[in-house]
């Protein structure tokens, strides 16, 4: 894709001016790294990292029919959400294949949906096709807002210092959010992330993005803060074994195969894909597993997983895990081979590498206190 057709977040020029190596991701020009993926990864595990995630789609829903519209369009039970709570959910097609994985935020009035950058147009089109008689509006706020993630063991104290007027951010529970007023009107502060560490994600108006980003950087000096690119975001989410759309799932993979059946509530009432998912739940085609390779070579997406000579699945993501210092992969394989400790192998560019099935997640942070 030619670079001049890519979308830019409000922080794009900052990234370019500060050594960000820009790449195309989901139709956006985004920094993959500033220094080294491994250094940025370790910064988040040990201290705190700052990410521009403005490429993520942000869709506001309002009107009396918003709840029913969301229930019809997604797999999780939206009406279970309390005000200020966030839910991981999926949108699937009629045959149960995943269209996108999303977060649904319940505001005081209305809802906010955060979706993947690469799927935003598809997600909006899916919602519009299901609008029917629901009395509600979908407003795409992606281009007028920015989104910044602050992740790592020192993230909470850092964000608290930048939002001094907002008392006790540490009281915001995981998968909950509050609205802060102190850094611009209606800043969404959510205890969410995609790294396996504690932290927040902020949604702010686009014209305040650079000021907030620089305030976090200045305040974060003593915390050892560094800006981090999408390369580290990917290795971090990979170690935490969080699925990534286009890797662990796509329109050909059902939620049960991807290990996301917990986000499907078959008995919540009618929703798109309900019938297909009811059947798939009994016999998912694949199971998502972890693989530990013996050598250092990386089994990347698409590599064939073998039991002896037989092809039993494919790698969905693989990397050299910086915290665990091992070549690891996630794969979708035939469920009968998925037991922990099963000895398999992976065809890594023509050379067969031994691998063992290991439990997911690969990495889980140790809770403090």
């Amino acid at each position: 894709m030619p670079t001049d057709t890519l979308a830019h977040t409000p922080l794009h020029d900052w990234h370019v001016a500060h050594g960000g190596r820009m790449v195309e991701f989901g139709g956006w020009s985004m920094p993959v790294q500033y220094t080294s993926v491994i250094d940025e990864h370790k910064t988040v595990r040990e201290r705190v990292g700052l990410f521009d995630i403005g490429h993520m789609g942000r869709l506001d829903f309002d009107g009396p029919g918003a709840l029913d519209w969301l229930e019809r369009s997604t797999t999780n039970h939206v009406s279970k959400l309390a005000i200020g709570q966030i839910q991981y959910s999926l949108m699937v097609n009629e045959s149960g294949g995943v269209l996108d994985d999303i977060l649904v935020y319940r505001r005081g009035e209305g809802y906010l949906v955060v979706c993947n950058a690469s799927n935003r147009a598809k997600v909006v089109a899916q919602f519009e096709s299901l609008r029917g008689d629901f009395r509600a509006n979908l407003i795409d706020r992606t281009l007028e807002t920015a989104m910044i993630a602050i992740q790592g063991p020192r993230a909470v104290e850092l964000v608290q210092r930048v939002l001094p007027e907002h008392a006790s951010l540490s009281a915001i529970r995981y998968y909950h959010f509050e609205i802060a007023k102190s850094i611009g009107f209606d800043t969404v502060v959510s205890r969410t992330g995609y790294t396996g560490e504690d932290g927040f994600e902020l949604i702010i108006s686009g014209d305040r993005a650079v000021a907030v980003w620089e305030a976090l950087l200045a305040e974060g000096v003593e915390s050892g803060l560094r800006p981090c690119g999408l390369g580290a975001r990917d290795t971090l989410r990979f170690e935490a074994s969080m699925p990534l759309y286009g890797h662990e799932m796509d329109e050909t993979v059902d939620p049960y195969s991807a290990g996301l059946g917990w986000a499907v509530k078959l008995n919540k009432g009618d929703f798109v894909g309900n019938e297909a998912l009811r059947a798939l739940k009994k016999a998912p085609r694949w199971k998502r597993i972890g693989l530990a390779l013996e050598g250092k070579r990386i089994a990347r997406q698409g590599a064939i997983v073998l039991a002896g000579e037989r092809e039993i699945g494919r790698v969905t993501s693989g990397t050299f895990a910086p915290t665990l210092e091992a070549s690891l992969a996630m794969a979708l394989i035939e469920p009968s081979f998925a037991g922990d400790g099963t000895r398999l192998s992976v065809d890594v560019r023509g050379k067969v590498e031994p691998a063992t099935v290991v439990p997911l997640p690969f990495y889980r942070r140790v809770e403090k206190g």
Binding site: V37, K296, I298, F320
Partner: protein
């Protein structure tokens, strides 16, 4: 080896010639572009090399890249230290981080390679 004494390919390998023996490595620019090196796969002694053909691969967190032979020839020595620890290459691509030594089949192939100045121009263009 001083970089100014080396010849380079557009695929970022370098060659140092001593008589009919070529020492082959990859450039500082390539190492800096790859970042986060994980592992390198080098050939065995005795392996025949063909100009422009892969003789190994180098893998970083983000990607795997082929190493392309600048010349025809035969491998006579492999840097075992780098094969065991690719960080040596990351730290010192022109001295301790050399990859293989090869008997040169056709000295004219080396003459066709870029000198240091021409290589600097090539990477300046690539960076833009």
């Amino acid at each position: 080896m001083k970089p100014t004494d080396l010849r380079f390919t557009r695929t970022h390998e370098w060659v140092y010639v001593d008589g009919d023996v070529a020492t082959i490595g990859v450039s500082r620019f390539a190492v800096d572009q790859l970042t986060d090196l994980i592992v390198i796969d080098l050939p065995e002694v005795g392996r025949k090399l063909s100009e422009g053909k892969s003789f190994g691969e180098i893998e970083s967190v983000k990607a795997v890249s082929d190493l392309y032979s600048p010349i025809d020839g035969e491998v006579i020595e492999v840097n075992r230290a780098v094969a065991a620890d690719v960080q040596i290459l990351a730290q010192d691509p022109y001295e301790k981080g050399w990859l293989i030594k090869a008997k040169i089949a056709d000295p004219a192939q080396v003459e066709k390679m870029l000198d240091h100045d021409a290589y600097q121009k090539a990477i300046a263009e690539e960076s833009h």
